[in-house]
């Protein structure tokens, strides 16, 4: 994979790459992508891709209130909070 492509992909994935890491990764990822091309010769004409492994229809359930993990416990896992609010850096 080209270095430029790798940096674009990394930024899509919200990952920061050091130059050194990018060098080694580009060789490795390139090797992987080359390995993937072993499946490119396979003829899949007239085959529907498996967009989901199993579910063909939706399952529905009753629209009822059920108990789930307490909100306080969930908020309690936030790295920084004020009361029941999660603090994040400025967005604007």
């Amino acid at each position: 994979m080209e270095l430029k492509e790798l940096y674009v992909t990394a930024s899509l994935a919200q990952l920061d790459l050091s130059d050194e890491e990018a060098e080694t990764l580009s060789a490795l990822v390139g090797q992987m992508v080359e390995y993937f091309s072993t499946m490119r010769e396979i003829d899949v004409e007239n085959l529907e891709p498996t967009t989901h492994a199993l579910l063909k229809t939706n399952r529905v359930r009753e629209d009822a209130v059920v108990e789930s993990a307490a909100a306080d416990t969930l908020v309690g896992n936030a790295p920084e909070s004020e009361g029941r609010f999660i603090v994040i850096p400025n967005v604007l």
């Binding site: 674009v8 919200q14 992508v33 072993t38 396979i42 492994a53 199993l54 399952r59 416990t73 896992n77």
Partner: protein, 487 residues
């Protein structure tokens, strides 16, 4: 010795009043503490629960008070560090989740706790279950009890090392592409990857959602059957879970023996692609011996051609990486786990947190996943892999219409040396060359201990069955076990 007994033997000891749960759990705790002092500890656990003995004492009290109707009351189990147990820490062996506490329990854990089981601790693993050697763990590797300079396999390496090393009678692992069967093969255990949908995925940290499944590691097929029966069944919280009934496994949970399968007339397919010319001699020898044994018991073992299998590792790594890149997008430093310090803006915080929190292999897979999903490459890789998966499903179904089992070695080699593949990801990925197809095809698959190499390293054989035919796999493995593992 308590730590050498199977779960079923421990269960018998409890029922007959020859053992107490406190004795059992203390024995495993003491074994863990003794091992931790060794020069090269197994590294099987990332945390052994301090209160496990107290929980065992409570189970003993319930039993004395005549409240022992939970079928597995007071029996311990080790739990992979990616399966939620309410109120306990969980990290997926990643810096990313340091400090995280599980706000609820996974359905499988809920059911095992309801059956009376006691979680012993959290077992080591490759970070986010990505790896085949348990070396990509932020805690350092787990080691193989048969040879501590070697890997126990991955990603459920801690679970396998715990059971094989006498630190737990049975353990939960998880599979996306072989992460239970490979460690079972490397450590000389029975390891079951259930059919997609047999066990609820609710509370299993997501990696590749169309492939993930909780799996089991133990010393006998019966032990796997018992835990499987207690955990299986439809869960409204996982829409992909199935309502299949497993009466034979359930009977074992209720106290019956696991029936051994009569091999007479059993039709078994061996894909030529999985026993190549260059297969390592010792793996080949163990596998051939198993085939001879199966034939001697009346099975029809036929070599078949299934060329699509040669593409399974490539399809697997494309789809698993794509799904992982999406599933792991949630780790952004906002709601839980690590948050990078001194980030000025929200986007800086995301990027720094993810770069500091994820290890090298996880970053690599996220990158590959984003790449195969990016516009321009989507059709050539992701969509193509989905189509090839459809072809694989069809071709494997064709074989299983005529044969009850697909038989192969579990892995191309016995356990390899720690450090030998860590710098060569592709070589590492090829450890899964025989396992990934079962995940892609949603099938149950079991690794059984089939023999040893000259150096005494375990070698496994893999049975893969029709969807929801877990009981067939377990009872065939039981036949093998009763005959002394063929020896």
């Amino acid at each position: 010795m308590i730590t050498e007994l199977s779960l079923s033997e421990l269960r018998g000891g409890l029922r007959r009043g020859e053992l107490t749960s406190a004795e059992i759990v203390s024995a495993f705790r003491d074994a863990y503490l003794a091992d931790a002092k060794k020069e090269e500890p197994l590294g099987a656990y990332v945390e052994f629960f301090d209160d496990s003995v107290a929980l065992a004492e409570r189970a003993d009290e319930a039993r004395r008070a005549g409240e022992a109707d939970a079928p597995l009351l007071g029996l311990p189990i080790a739990v992979k560090d990616n399966i939620l147990v309410k109120g306990r820490a969980l990290t997926c062996a990643s810096r990313m989740l340091r400090g995280f506490t599980a706000p609820y329990s996974s359905t499988v854990i809920d059911r095992l706790l309801a059956a009376g089981m006691i979680p012993l601790g959290r077992t080591n693993m490759d970070e986010f279950a990505m790896g085949s050697s348990c070396e990509y763990s932020c805690y350092g590797p787990a080691r193989n009890p048969a040879d501590r300079t070697r890997t126990p396999g991955g990603s459920s390496g801690g679970s396998a090392a715990a059971v094989a090393g006498g630190l737990a009678p049975v353990a939960l692992g998880s599979e996306t592409g072989g992460s239970v069967r490979l460690p079972a093969s490397f450590c000389g255990l029975y390891g079951l990857k259930p059919s997609y949908g047999s066990l609820s995925r609710y509370g299993l940290v997501a990696f590749g959602s169309s492939l993930d499944q909780i799996g089991l590691l133990g010393r006998s097929p019966e032990d796997l059957a018992v835990v499987f029966a207690a955990a299986a069944g439809r869960d409204p919280r996982d829409e992909t879970s199935a309502a299949t009934d497993f009466p034979a496994a359930r009977a074992v949970l209720d106290g019956a023996e696991l029936p051994a399968r009569d091999f007479r007339g059993l039709k078994i397919a061996v894909p030529r692609e999985f026993v190549p010319e260059g297969l390592e001699a010792e793996v080949s020898a163990v596998f051939d011996r198993f085939v001879r044994w199966a034939r001697s018991r009346g099975a029809f073992v036929e070599i078949i051609d299934l060329p699509i299998l040669e593409a399974s590792v490539a399809i697997y790594y494309i789809l698993a990486a794509a799904e992982a890149s999406s599933n792991l997008a949630r780790y952004d430093g906002v709601r839980y786990g690590l948050r990078a310090k001194e980030a000025g803006t929200l986007f800086e915080m995301y990027e720094r947190t993810r770069s500091e929190g994820f290890g090298e292999e996880v970053r690599r897979r996220i990158l590959i996943g984003n790449f195969v999903l990016s516009s321009g490459y989507y059709d050539a890789y992701y969509k193509k892999a989905q189509a090839v998966r459809a072809l694989l499903l069809r071709e494997v179904a064709r074989v299983l219409a005529e044969h009850e089992l697909i038989l192969s070695p579990t892995a191309p080699t016995p356990a390899f040396k720690l450090g030998s593949k860590v710098r060569d990801p592709l070589a590492m990925y090829l450890s899964d060359v025989y396992t990934t197809f079962a995940n892609l095809a949603l099938l149950p698959s079991l690794s059984l201990p089939a023999g040893l190499s000259r150096e005494g390293l375990p070698i496994g054989v893999q049975l893969t069955g029709r969807r929801f035919a877990e009981e067939t796999l377990l009872s065939c493995a039981e036949t093998w076990r009763r005959e002394g593992g063929g020896g």
